[in-house]
């Protein structure tokens, strides 16, 4: 493959004989994605090529937004990996609705089973108190949306983008929503005189 500077890439991809540059970039994205997607099960060569094709189109559409702060190929691979993960996550979660994940008001978020039966009685009592506090602040401080998002993301591991799509919002706005939720919870917990160290130490394995 021809070595190109960032400027050469940009010129070549937008020039009259862009076929060679396109083919080179495509090859690069396919090779990168093979490694990037190694931990995904059931991703065959055809899938990798399809994803690379989608990514290639995205890269070409976004050329104007390349700020030249990294090598062009690094930037292109970043976009490719993101396109691929977004799509694979979408497929993986496509049949799951937020309702399936059950995050209604009356869900017991902090069941007693979280108390460690092997801990000494004093520690168990502390754990129970902390769980009650957490349940209470989650139930009273958060909006339904915040609670639903927290359960989907934190407990079920649903990707942010997938939760966002189902809630009719976008990933960045959802991050902000969850950040605000954490901020509120933290404030309330601190107001109860509990330190982060106490909280974590109580559930130390």
């Amino acid at each position: 493959m021809t070595e190109r500077t960032n400027q050469q890439w940009l010129t070549a991809l937008q020039g009259p004989d862009r076929d060679e540059a396109l083919a080179d970039l495509r090859t690069l994205l396919v090779r990168g994605l093979r490694y990037a997607l190694a931990s995904w099960p059931n991703v065959d060569e055809a899938t990798v090529e399809d994803l690379a094709q989608d990514a290639l189109l995205r890269v070409l559409k976004g050329l104007d937004s390349f700020r030249g702060e990294s090598r062009f190929t690094t930037w292109a691979q970043k976009i490719a990996v993101n396109v691929a993960f977004t799509e694979l996550r979408r497929r993986r979660w496509q049949d799951i609705s937020l309702d399936d994940l059950g995050a209604s008001q009356d869900t017991d978020f902090m069941p007693d089973t979280l108390v460690d039966p092997s801990a000494d009685p004093e520690k168990q009592a502390l754990q129970r108190t902390l769980l009650d506090t957490l349940s209470e602040v989650i139930a009273t401080e958060l909006t339904d949306k915040q609670r639903q998002a927290l359960v989907a993301v934190r407990i079920h591991g649903m990707p942010l983008a997938e939760v966002a799509r189902r809630m009719g919002t976008n990933r960045n706005a959802l991050y902000k929503l969850l950040h605000d939720a954490r901020q509120r919870l933290k404030k309330r917990i601190l107001a109860q005189g509990l330190s982060p160290q106490d909280m974590l130490a109580a559930f130390e394995p």
Binding site: R34, E69, K78, R92, H179
Partner: protein, 103 residues
């Protein structure tokens, strides 16, 4: 009933063996998740960046990392976001793997 239960158990084990990505399943909050959740809540800071802002910087961050420079120190908010956001961290690690492979 017991057959269905053991089948589900088996499914979970197989999933765990073949993937480190979370799958939709009937998970419940366990103690480890609780610890992470507490950690997340208590380490919340006002100046966090969101996924989009992190992604903007990710190519530069990855190159610094691969060059053996202290990316975390140069871009602390990106590092902070990656520490918090499993989705972005996954993408970042996959990007490193891709960059290392085609370097």
């Amino acid at each position: 009933m017991w057959m269905k239960q053991s089948l589900n158990k088996l499914r979970q084990i197989v999933r765990k063996m073949f993937s480190n990505h979370p799958t939709p399943s009937d998970v419940a909050l366990d103690r480890e998740m609780l610890r992470k959740m507490i950690q997340e809540i208590m380490s919340t800071r006002p100046d966090e960046i969101d996924c989009g802002e992190c992604f903007e910087e990710l190519d530069r961050f990855a190159e610094m990392k691969l060059a053996g420079k202290n990316a975390a120190e140069a871009m602390p908010l990106v590092q902070d976001h990656l520490d918090r956001c499993a989705n972005c961290r996954e993408v970042f690690e996959a990007l490193l793997a891709a960059l290392r492979a085609v370097a």
